[in-house]
Symmetry: C2
Subunit: 314 residues, 2 copies
């Protein structure tokens, strides 16, 4: 298994730099006082398509051969990765095929379509999604760009932490959410290789704690019907992301739905930025574990800001 290293993330950053936003690191004295620690928010909600996913998708698209570019890319996703791959492909003259469940929200279908991708709808089961994707690959020769089980995607996601540490090197902790583990894999590889004194923490909803279970049991536990407001963190780790997380992450902390929602509202109210529930998980684990973070400096990777304003959880 080929595991990414810091140099791969640095190379990814040079490659994607002309296409991405170098997102700001924001702070809030009110939140610092409230949580009794110094917080540095790496705002990937302000990234293109409103999520860190654009980093990994761009890195993957830029490493296709000319022949592969002509054949296009494909993925199955209804979330931020679909929008990210669509835009990354379109910016590079590559055709994107997106397989989405027919039940996906209208707003997400529109977002993907607005980036010029071709959407194929399927029944809302993993089997239907994989089967539909396979058919498109056979028909078009398109390359599958998996949302997280992909070396190049992971290296792209790690560039957010690279920028965070270039802006703010003297951190005690870096915290990122864990869903499929792509962001956590890139983040933990980057931080571990730059400064092994910085602790790397994964943040997960208690109601979708498969990474916590996997990490603590040493065996990959899949996510089964998780029920959480953090809709970006429903997926299971892959063998690749699990291995990287085992190697590099210090601990995984979980947070209740109540904490996630209240921390999301807190960031909206006090910082005036829109973060999605998955992003709020990184602050929620601090709220639930004050003893670990008191008096420390923590970098928080805010993964995205895509929210349906007509279905707010508060």
């Amino acid at each position: 298994m080929n595991l990414p290293a810091l140099k791969d993330i640095q190379a990814a950053h040079s490659r994607i730099r002309p296409f991405i936003h170098f997102t700001p690191v924001l702070t809030s004295q009110q939140l610092n006082r409230m949580f009794d620690c110094e917080l540095f928010f790496k705002c990937e909600n302000l990234q293109r398509v409103g999520a860190f996913k654009f980093r990994g998708a761009t890195n993957a698209v830029l490493q296709l051969s000319e022949t592969e570019k002509q054949r296009g890319v494909v993925t199955h996703s209804s979330g931020n990765h679909a929008a990210a791959l669509s835009l990354a492909a379109s910016m590079n003259g590559v055709k994107a095929h997106i397989v989405m469940p027919e039940t996906a929200p209208e707003v997400k279908k529109k977002a993907v379509a607005s980036y010029g991708a071709e959407i194929t709808f399927c029944k809302p089961t993993l089997q239907a999604r994989e089967e539909t994707t396979r058919i498109i690959m056979e028909k078009t020769g398109a390359t599958l760009i998996h949302p997280y089980d992909n070396f190049n995607v992971i290296c792209g996601q790690g560039t957010a932490a690279l920028e965070l540490l270039s802006d703010k090197p003297d951190l005690d902790f870096v915290i990122a959410p864990v869903g499929g583990g792509g962001l956590m894999s890139g983040t933990s590889t980057c931080v571990r290789d730059i400064d092994s004194k910085i602790q790397v923490i994964g943040a997960e909803p208690l109601n979708a704690n498969d990474a916590w279970q996997s990490f603590n049991s040493g065996k990959l536990v899949p996510s089964v019907n998780p029920l959480t407001v953090a809709d970006g963190l429903l997926t299971s780790l892959s063998e690749l992301t699990f291995r990287i997380i085992q190697n590099n992450v210090d601990q995984i902390l979980t947070a209740s739905e109540e904490s996630i929602i209240s921390c999301m509202l807190l960031v909206w109210e006090r910082m005036k930025i829109i973060i999605e529930p998955s992003s709020a998980t990184v602050l929620a684990v601090i709220k639930e574990n004050p003893g670990i973070f008191r008096g420390k400096k923590a970098g928080l990777i805010i993964s995205g800001g895509n929210v349906d304003f007509r279905k707010l959880p508060f």
Copy 2:
């Protein structure tokens, strides 16, 4: 009538600089494409207390004599100026008295109280507010800091435009919302004195178009029971702000409620920042007057981001 000049705004900026945030200027390629012009958002929603009002309040508090500081300050407001004055006073060891209508929303009462101000409630009429304020002034000797009919407040508000032009000097337009006219007075004085080629535009809700009426008739028309979602723009101009606006503003444009709400949603969705309806007015006038702005560069002063998330207009 003593009218402010650029040097007064520059002096205000030096004075308040240690207390305020030098807020970022954000851009969005999606919005630029959508409106066919280049937009530069001066994000005062990211200012302390979530609004530009903190600039003017701080400038006013810092210019009190020692005796005045000991006696405290007072204002009647239920909005952003109340919170701004409370924080500015508390940061400088000055007691703040805030007169609020007893009907003010719970969230605003809490915000003001959290900054340590003493709140006096009164009946929700202008007469009751003024009478209560007068009684407090007589009893305590506190200095009235009016939300906009105040030279020092106006100079403080003008520092947002000063920062905008230092970051982005080559603009064709600067647009700011008009309520009582404090922000517009400071902004237009600053822009006119720095570069008279830049056009200064006031943005106002069509449903509260008293400044538009005053500007175009040459006579101060008061705002009578305006009904608009832009709750920061309900007040009337004063003689002072009207005079400054007459001298320095190129035109006042109005926008419908529908445009204000749709532009607010657009900024939330695309830029992932929270702006209040009053702020959205500056984008709404561009939406309604595309011919004026096509191919041009416009600086937009985003006045604030204080919103009740349980009462969204969309």
